[in-house]
Each structure stands twice: as structure tokens, then as C-alpha cells.
Symmetry: C2
Subunit: 241 residues, 2 copies
């Protein structure tokens, strides 16, 4: 499993992903699930992935290859597509085609050859946009009503997002929110694991303005997690019924 | 869907269930999912149900009929079985047989003909025991390490239980914990809905010592939910990263 979450705020976009992949409980590895494509001062695209590693890796490799191909066109390269919407359409097509191809090869057990992605991007002069791309290549977009998107094991970490995240949330609060959302998920689901990748794309920067890998035992994360635990217990004790 | 939770504490057992059932999103009804069998001063058994309504209703009806049959024996009646373990075995057998029968009748779509149950019980002179009965009739038991059991939509409401519930938790804190656990679930999942049924079985009472239906708009529940929301937001604001 996996947990990735992205917030689309007035001040910027905040993305967080875990790194655990597993094929059964007895085969656990660490793989990066966050990838950034950047044309300095022109566009930034951050992709987070969940699902079959074979599908997500192949999809990313193909997007990468198509982007740098000498015959790349705005219809095939996410570095040349004229809008973020068209970037997402390229990603959706590549993901769906890869899923289908691998699914066909797998035959009956094809149900596991699927993957989904969160795509956060901005072009110079354009709006920040964030999409969730489904295995079939169709997608939905984050809006002010629900300014976050999640893929993978999303349930444990959803309540905190519902309660604190709005488009007005500051980048600093947003980092706290995604980390606490991840903290609840890590506690409850073994298939989501450290280290974490955090990326912040501030509005109109057209680059990742903060990128951090949070390792197991990271002091800041551990303190925040402990403080949250205490805050929850104190809040609980204070409530009268 | 459904959410039911039971806590096994040193001071007693606390059970909470919602009442929403649905066949598709456009067919929602209210059905009680908590049932109590009581022989005053001798035994108390509270059963909570999740899954196919046709399976759970038929199972309960059969348990009821078998219990009051004039030829009832300790092998067939949950009111006569000599231990709570044997009570659970009767329930497990009845549930599995009913599931199988209804599943056979449904043929290919049999996957939906399954149900699970939480059984909380005590006999005079015996220990309080709480079991989760799986669709196949096998079961697991709550222990001091994990003194709670959940069925149905369990993920949203698990983090709060993990953080605050231990066997030493008081009945009053336990009621608060299950109600807040339900509150998180109600917020996130449309298929779980008010009203709620709350039951408390104090240790050695051999009866339900508190039984309450919490209706939509219940003032106490609403205040508690609002206080929890504020506590979470305040706790969140106070954390530094």
C-alpha cells in the first residue's frame, strides 16, 4: 500500500508521500513515490504514485523518455504541453496504456496491475492545479471546496484534513496537517512506512521551493507526533459528557 | 456499511452501533444493529451486527427462536449454554450456516451474503468476554493488549481508540471514546448514520446497566462533537514545526 496526499492552497501546493512498497507482508522495500519535472521559471510538475510498482515505474520511465525525446512534441512531452491540463492528459494516457499492457500480460491476476497518481503543477502565468489520475487515465481536480487529494490508504489520515485544511491554510500549517495525517496512517497501517518525502511548491515559483526527506527517527517529526498525541489526550480528557 | 465498536474494560463493557443500512446509495434505512439477550442475574449477551441485513436478521431470528424453543438444550440455546465461549460457538455456527444458505441461494453474487458480529457477554461467576465473529463462524477475542473490537467501517474511528483506550479506562471515558470514534466515522462515511445505540454492561451486573438511543441532534452528542472539533483545532494550532 501507500499513502500520498497533496494540498492545493492559495499560498502554494504541499505534497507528502511515504516510500513503502510491499509484495506480501514478507517482502517490503523502500521506493520513492514522488517525482518532479521542472523547466526552471517555466513549469514545475510533481507526480506522486500509488499502486503496482511495475505500472508506476514504467509509466514514469515512459513519461521521462517522451519528455526528452528529440522528436518530442507538445502532444507527447509533459515538458512541452501548453497547459497543465494537457500535461495531465498525457500522464493519464500513459498510465492507462501501461496498466492495460501490463494487465494483459498478467492475464487473470490483472486486478493488481493498476495505479493512480496525484499530479501537482503550475506553468508560468497559469494557475496552480492539482489532479488525481485514476488507473483508467481519467482524473478529478482539487477545488476550493475540497482542497486536498489522497491516494492509497487514505482513510486514517482523512479526519484531520477535513477538520483543518482550507484554501486559506498557510504553508506552515499545511506541512503540519499532511505530516499529522501521515502520522495517523503510519500508526494504523503497516503497509505505509518511513521515510517520507515532502515537497512544497510555492505559488508562482515554478519550482519546488522546499524538498525534504524525513527519515525514521527524524527529531522534528518525532516531536510533532508526540506533541499531537499529548494534545489529543489532553483534549480528550477535557471533554465532559 | 455500518460501524460498531465494543470495549472490554476492567470496569465493564461498552458497546456502540450506528443504525444505517443501505442497498446502494439511493436506498437508505434505519435498522437496529444491537440486540441484547438477558437472563436476570444469570447472564447478559449483547450482539452487534454488520454486513448483509438479510443474513444478520435471519441469524438473530434463529438464535432467538432456538433460545425459547421448548426443546432448547445447552448446545442450541444461547440462554442455556454453560459458558460465553459456547454462546459464541452457537452464534458462529448459526451465522455461518445462515450465510452459506443465503449465499447458495444468491449464486454468483454471494460475496454480499456475509456478515460479522461482536458478542459481549458475561455469566454470573464468569469473566466478561468479548468476541468478533467472522462470516465463516470463527472468532477472535478482545484481550488487554487490544481491548476493543470493531466491525464495519473501522478505519476512520481507530486512531482515537488506539490512543486513549486501555483496560483501565473508566466507563465514562470509554463512552466518550466510542462516541468520538463514531463521530469521526460519521463525518467521513455516508454509509454510517445516526441514530446510535449505546449500551454499557458493568462488571458482574449481568445486565445492561445503561442503554441509550442517541438521536440525530442529541444535545450531549452534538456538544461533545463540537468540543472535540475545537480541541483538535486548538491542539493543532499549538504544535510547532
Amino acid at each position: 500500500m501507500t499513502y500520498c496526499v497533496g494540498l492545493l492552497l492559495n499560498a502554494g501546493m504541499v505534497c507528502l508521500s511515504d516510500t513503502r512498497t510491499n509484495a506480501g507482508l514478507d517482502n517490503i522495500s523502500t521506493y520513492r513515490k514522488m517525482f518532479t519535472f521542472n523547466v526552471p521559471d517555466e513549469r514545475v510538475i510533481t507526480i506522486m504514485t500509488a499502486g503496482s510498482l511495475s505500472v508506476t515505474q514504467t509509466t514514469l520511465a515512459r513519461l521521462d523518455e517522451a519528455a526528452v525525446d528529440i522528436e518530442a512534441t507538445p502532444q507527447t512531452s509533459i515538458l512541452l504541453a501548453p497547459t497543465i491540463l494537457q500535461v495531465v492528459e498525457i500522464i493519464g494516457r500513459t498510465l492507462a496504456a501501461t496498466s492495460k499492457e501490463i494487465g494483459n500480460r498478467m492475464g487473470e491476476s490483472a486486478s493488481s496491475a493498476s495505479a493512480s497518481m496525484i499530479v501537482a503543477g503550475q506553468r508560468a502565468g497559469g494557475d496552480m492545479r492539482m489532479f488525481l489520475v485514476y488507473p483508467e487515465g481519467n482524473f478529478i481536480e482539487a477545488t476550493p471546496d475540497t482542497p486536498y487529494l489522497q491516494i492509497g490508504e487514505h482513510k486514517y489520515g482523512k479526519p484531520i484534513l477535513d477538520r483543518v485544511v482550507t484554501p486559506e491554510t498557510s504553508i506552515s500549517d499545511a506541512k503540519k496537517a499532511v505530516l499529522l495525517s501521515m502520522d495517523s496512517t503510519l500508526r494504523s497501517n503497516l503497509s505505509v512506512g518511513m521515510p517520507l518525502d515532502l515537497a512544497v511548491i510555492e505559488k508562482d515559483a515554478c519550482r519546488v521551493t522546499e524538498q525534504r526527506r524525513i527519515e525514521e527517527g527524524d527529531a522534528v517529526f518525532r516531536e510533532m507526533s508526540a506533541a499531537w498525541s499529548i494534545a489529543l489526550k489532553d483534549g480528550f480528557s477535557a471533554i465532559k459528557i
